[in-house]
Assembly symmetry: D2
Homo-oligomer: 342 residues x 4
């Protein structure tokens, strides 16, 4: 069997380790043949393939990013898109099936293609940890480590200047990175999309930490919304060029916290450094194992399924299990963390 591998959506530490795991297991245990698909679904649609043997995956477990490139192309769009065209393209290159490594959009497309007869195995990828059906996804641990280390650094500046420091981390729809990094770094307030708060509630936490002699440390997910924020801030989401603001919610919060509490406050948007670079050991192991099991899934012809972490085991679940609702932070996990800054 000849299998194409693609990575799709935002890059994530561990993508290369997945690719390596699939190729090593597939070639040494099963005699599978692989090709790399360039830039996610774009490469499928346009028939853009590169060789992918044991040689190409050498030493990749620690390398960040993806050697295959990635894009946000939708395989059902464009002249050459759609299941029928894709089936022809794959047939023309004698490719029997695809491993699609990606997040919700990718897996939704994979699910639809699968139902339209394309043979696809999935590997979940989300740095925000927002996919259901897997306990954790690779990249998340690396992002939490980077955010935690950054907050450790911010704390010393806060302490020296008696300032409140606000760190903005990734998480458009879910607050996992903020929850874990905030807990790890000992934040005095954790602000996540699942739990909107008012400025009064936030500044009460800041003031309380300050009153105990601490330099308040606040972590906020990029997707956090102030209670009633739509009204208060909706007209201010544009930058000086009338383009969507590059800055984030932390840049709105910091001056408000300073205004209300009188405590000097500074914000830092961690941004892209959270998703690049060498994966943590946890993510390398998780990604490698997902790759190994994806090779098994191919041989078992488990099309329409994706591999996932449950406890300490890698299992298979239908694509649909990962789709629909996001994996949000449940209330009891938030309350657990909130006990630390109450």
């Amino acid at each position: 069997m000849k299998i194409g591998i693609l990575t799709s959506g935002g890059d994530c530490p561990g993508l290369n380790a997945v690719i390596r795991g699939i190729v090593l297991k597939g070639t040494t245990s099963y005699d599978l043949e692989f090709v790399g698909i360039r830039d996610g679904w774009r490469g499928v649609v346009e028939g853009d393939f590169v060789p992918l043997t044991r040689h190409e995956v050498k030493g990749l477990s620690k390398v960040g990013g993806t050697i295959l490139g990635t894009s946000r192309t939708n395989p059902y769009e464009g002249d050459r898109g759609g299941a029928e065209n894709i089936a022809k393209t794959l047939f023309g290159h004698r490719i029997d099936g695809i491993v699609a490594i990606g997040g919700e959009g990718t897996l939704a497309a994979a699910d639809r293609l699968s139902k339209d007869g394309i043979k696809v195995v999935g590997v979940p990828k989300t740095i925000d940890n927002d996919l259901r059906a897997t306990d954790y996804s690779f990249g998340f641990d690396t992002a939490v480590n980077i955010a935690t280390e950054a907050m450790d650094r911010l704390r010393t500046t806060g302490d020296s200047h008696q300032r409140c420091m606000v760190a903005e981390v990734m998480g458009r729809h879910v607050g996992w990175i903020a929850l874990h990094a905030g807990m790890a770094a000992g934040a005095h307030a954790i602000l996540i999309p699942e739990n909107p708060m008012s400025l009064d509630e936030i500044t009460a936490l800041v003031q309380s930490a300050h009153d105990r002699g601490r330099a308040p440390l606040v972590v906020v997910s990029e997707g956090f919304k102030l209670k009633g924020m739509e009204e208060a801030f909706s007209d201010k989401g544009l930058d000086a060029f009338n383009r969507p603001r590059l800055g984030g919610i932390s840049e709105i919060l910091a001056p408000e916290i300073e205004r209300i509490t009188g405590i000097e406050t500074r914000s830092t948007v961690l941004g892209h450094i959270q998703r690049g670079g060498s994966p943590s050991a946890f993510d390398r192991v998780l990604a490698t194992r997902l790759g190994l099991h994806a090779a098994d899934a191919i041989v078992d012809e488990a099309w329409g399924e994706m591999v996932a972490l449950r406890g300490t085991d890698i299992v298979r679940v239908p694509f649909s299990d990962a789709l629909g609702e996001l994996n949000t932070v449940p209330q009891y996990r938030y309350d657990e963390a909130a006990a630390l800054f109450g």
Copy 2:
């Protein structure tokens, strides 16, 4: 209620985060009072206590080691040991119960004391990840990260000199650190106590990696035993002073690998650097959560139980669940990893 907290056995990154979690949750949510017990069971037996309030645990989530000190004292030994004496000592200091943070020996003692009427809640601690009843224990992830980073470094030296590099990691009875660090670093052979191998089997893996143009990278648990090693090496376990050898199994393996394959081979014993220093974010979160839930367990009077990780949740299990057999690497996990170097 007034509760004593102790840490026992080898130090482990995350101990301070557990202590902080217990004290913060216990004082802010429950009105518990705490004292620190110095140097594990020694402090219980000798009545050596220190104040432990919110102030003492400030900023501890990221601090390695244990502020309470640790020892390997057995609470049933010595003049003032035994359940009856300990009960008197605790009563004399108006201490109602104990949180014991420790490994198998500690938990076995806690189990026995508990059966003898002392109120004890447990928190599992093992850097080797050798305890059953918890998916992972804090400290393990940090150790794997350190070992992985060290092996990343060894690889560049191996590549530059076309050498075989042997890294010896912790793991007296179980091979989890070697398994995970080996998988993360892309080792060409992973040698663990659960899977004795002969020199021929090992050198075959080394030679195979060499023949593919790679500088062979071998990771070995300190507790790994060569098949038939008792005979071959038993008289050689002493150093030049006739004391038990400080060096490890890697120092036996390296010259043998070089002798048999002709490939220049160097060994490095990572040793104590694997257990010190600031915990990884994963370990800080796990340790903090275990601490928070230990405070809950006290309030629920769940004496005789310990908190543990299952999937993404913290649960309670009786001490006995963690005792007896060790949490060894199962064959299917070893085979999974072996597919990478086959």
Copy 3:
């Protein structure tokens, strides 16, 4: 002799190591006595002192920030400011002299106080490396390491998405951090205050890297100015609240680069993470040595002088040597680096 120590201006990794060096050398070799002055010159003016013995400096070589706190207070301002008042305050607390650890503003004040009869020894502190009379200042190496590691991470994202990544680093008036981090990370363009460039020149470098198949990596000092920028951007330096923009020059550059080249471009402002946290080994050694030599300078009554690094030696120079012109990046150093991205 009783000496007060103060840290002034922005915090910087290594401040605590300087304090420790002074106190250890002063107490063990010379029998000096020390007090800590809180929050820079504010503590001098207001007579805010704390004990500072060997005990307080224990373990400080690796601790970021400053245990003494810092501020931007000018000692010549306010009711209780000015040399005469300060002399009285110091006399009242039997303080014979001051070690002032700070940047240009601090050293200028120290110089003036010194000329007005206050006994002051200086230690240069600038994370931007903008002080003359010292080869390097502590904190700079740590900042360059953090910026370099961040850019290593950004590169993998750039490579995976074929994007241009723009990293904004510290450096209001001088480009040393950008120069060193850019060279270390292999940037394709280094934009510094000393060398204004036009958008055309910048996009030519970006396009050239792109044409060679690379994902362009650009590093820019916060103080970089586009040629003719005053005209083009002066009315756009405000955020959506009409406050000075929190975002930086990179947020202006990124959309312009994308517009002109058509290459997707993202910016990241590293911000405060560059100045916090544990110092690098280089900075710990430099800071410790400056502290040791500051103690010598006190005993030698070298008032009006500061300690500084020259080659591998610590020397003494008059305050005035560090003042006046900034230590800018000379043209030959910029040209040297530019050879890499030409």
Copy 4:
């Protein structure tokens, strides 16, 4: 002109950055052509060359080790060695000159070849920092950082167990790594080859730290010798197989310290992890600059000279300046550090 580049002796973080610097400057500024010489002088003697263009050096500034390989071959030995044979080999491949990147042995050979008419430019390489004529050499800063971080980790274990921890670092003949890492990590004793001490002197320092309530931290260069050690230990330098002991001086010291002071003592030999992996930013900048200036030196036909760091500048010196005496730690630098543990 066509120039061969070789790396010789032990690997060192920054070798690849030097190679990249030479090739980028040489090809973009000067139209030089390069070939890589495999495995140091072996490749010269055996005529083992590989292509070396801009393509091969892409992204190398952060990559540890050397892409050219290295060995300890002496170019004057063997059938095909010697200046005359080498001249023929180079002529046969139309190679006009050589850049030799290496330590004392390499530079001595380069000096001799240069005097015998071969065109050679040198770049000093020593992780131990034992070469004269350059303020620092690349690799040293990385090694010091790794050793410092390891000692930070050892300290938490020492504190938790009230143990004395002994860290053995590189440095066969000179103590620079021990001096800098010991200063950075706050060691209570620094033992270097330049300053032999007796067990009594060492244990006095250990005892003194212990008496002040500290867990003693000792750093020792691998080449440290106890006063009178030749007599006491000379017959014990062999391991259980009668081969030269793999373990180091720290394994001799630790049990002696424990025996004399009664303080539990553990040793760790950091070994090869000090020389592998990605270079620090300082080393990347230094190595890159040395490479850039080596390209200049070629064009200037500065044969028989090497590039070196002096203050913040790169200068040229004759080979002979780096040979002869080693760059040892001068007494005043040792005394400076000793003030911290006195």
